[in-house]
C-alpha cells in the first residue's frame, strides 16, 4: 500500500490510537511494573517500548481478539523480549527499579512483590499463563490465547498456583 494516506484519515487514526492507549494505560503500566519487580529497568523506557510496538502493529489489529487481549499480548511480549535480552547479557546494576513510579508513596507492598518475584522465576510460558489469569482473563480467553482447552487451562492454573504456594513456603522457611 502506498504511503499517501489522506491527512484526515491519518489524524483520525492517531486520535483513535491515543484513545486506545488512554483506555488501557493502567494495564500497560501494570504489566511493565510487574515485570520490573526487582529489576533495574526504567519504567518509562519499558512503557515507551510497549507504545512503539502497539503503534507499529495498530494497523494490523482487526478485532478478531478483544482490544484488551491485543494490548495485553503486545505489552506482555514486549516485556518478555526485554527480559530475554537481559538474560543474554546479565546486568550488574542494583536491583531497585528506577524511573517512573519511583515516588516515596509508590506501591510498596513487600508481600505483593514477593509473589511477583516468584512468578518471575517461573518458566516464561507458565509465568505468562498465570499472569493472564491474575490479570482477569477468563479460562475461556486464556484457552483461546494459548490454543488449549478450557479444562487444560483450569488444571494448569491450579497446578501453577500450588507450585507458587510451595515456592512461597520454601522461601519463608515453612
Amino acid at each position: 500500500m502506498e504511503s499517501s494516506e489522506p491527512h484526515e484519515a491519518n489524524k483520525s487514526r492517531i486520535e483513535n490510537f491515543n484513545a486506545l492507549v488512554l483506555r488501557h494505560k493502567a494495564m500497560i503500566w501494570h504489566i511493565c511494573s510487574d515485570y520490573n519487580v526487582g529489576k533495574a529497568r526504567n519504567m518509562e523506557d519499558c512503557i515507551q517500548e510497549v507504545l512503539i510496538n502497539l503503534w507499529r502493529s495498530f494497523g494490523t489489529f482487526e478485532e478478531r481478539s478483544s482490544e484488551k487481549t491485543w494490548v495485553w499480548r503486545v505489552a506482555t511480549n514486549t516485556m518478555l523480549m526485554l527480559k530475554r535480552k537481559e538474560d543474554k547479557s546479565p546486568q550488574t546494576e542494583p536491583i531497585e527499579a528506577v524511573g517512573v513510579g519511583e515516588k516515596e508513596d509508590e506501591p510498596n507492598d513487600e508481600k505483593y512483590k514477593q509473589l511477583q518475584q516468584l512468578i518471575n522465576m517461573l518458566p516464561e510460558e507458565s509465568g505468562t499463563i498465570i499472569r493472564s489469569f491474575l490479570d482477569g482473563f477468563s479460562y475461556k480467553e486464556i484457552a483461546e490465547m494459548t490454543g488449549s482447552s478450557v479444562g487444560a487451562v483450569a488444571m494448569r492454573i491450579a497446578r501453577l498456583k500450588q507450585k507458587l504456594k510451595i515456592m512461597y513456603e520454601r522461601e519463608n522457611n515453612l
Binding site: N77, P107, I129, D135, G147
Partner: protein, 131 residues
C-alpha cells in the same frame, strides 16, 4: 508450645499467600492509582508515533480475513523462513511465547510476536512464504 508457634506461623504465612494472591488479582485498583496521568501518557504516545518503523502506511496485502501485514514483517519473513520452518515443526501449545520454541535467533519471530500475532498467524504467514 514450640509446635504450636510453628503451626501458627505456618498458618499465618499460608493466609499471607492467599492474601497476596487476592491482592494481585485486584491489580486494577492499584494500577489506576499509580499509572502516570493522561498528559504524560500522551507525550509518550507522541514519541512512539514518531518512530520511523511505526508508519501505518507500510502495509502489504498478505491477506487473510482482510489482514494486512506490515511490509517490514513480510520482508523479514523471507529472510527468516528457515527459522519459521523450525517453528512450524515445533508448534507450541501456546500462542504466546512462540520465540522460546525456536532455537535459531530470528528477528522475524521477535517482530511478529511483538506485534500480537498468534501462533496461527505465524503458521499462516510461514505457509504463505514457503509456498
Amino acid at each position: 508450645m514450640k509446635n504450636k508457634i510453628k503451626a501458627l506461623k505456618s498458618s499465618t504465612q499460608r493466609d499471607s499467600f492467599e492474601a497476596q494472591w487476592q491482592s494481585r488479582q485486584q491489580w486494577q485498583e492499584q494500577a489506576e492509582k499509580w499509572a502516570p496521568d493522561d498528559k504524560t501518557f500522551l507525550q509518550w504516545v507522541e514519541k512512539a508515533q514518531q518512530d520511523p518503523a511505526g508508519s501505518s502506511a507500510n502495509l502489504i496485502p498478505i491477506h487473510r480475513n482482510k489482514r494486512w501485514i506490515p511490509y517490514a514483517a513480510a520482508a523479514s519473513l523471507v529472510i527468516g523462513v528457515a527459522a519459521i520452518g523450525l517453528t512450524r515443526q515445533s508448534q507450541p501449545e501456546s500462542g504466546l511465547p512462540v520465540a522460546e520454541e525456536v532455537t535459531v535467533e530470528s528477528q522475524t519471530i521477535h517482530f511478529i510476536c511483538n506485534n500480537g500475532c498468534s501462533a496461527q498467524d505465524i503458521m499462516f504467514l510461514a505457509n504463505k512464504v514457503i509456498k
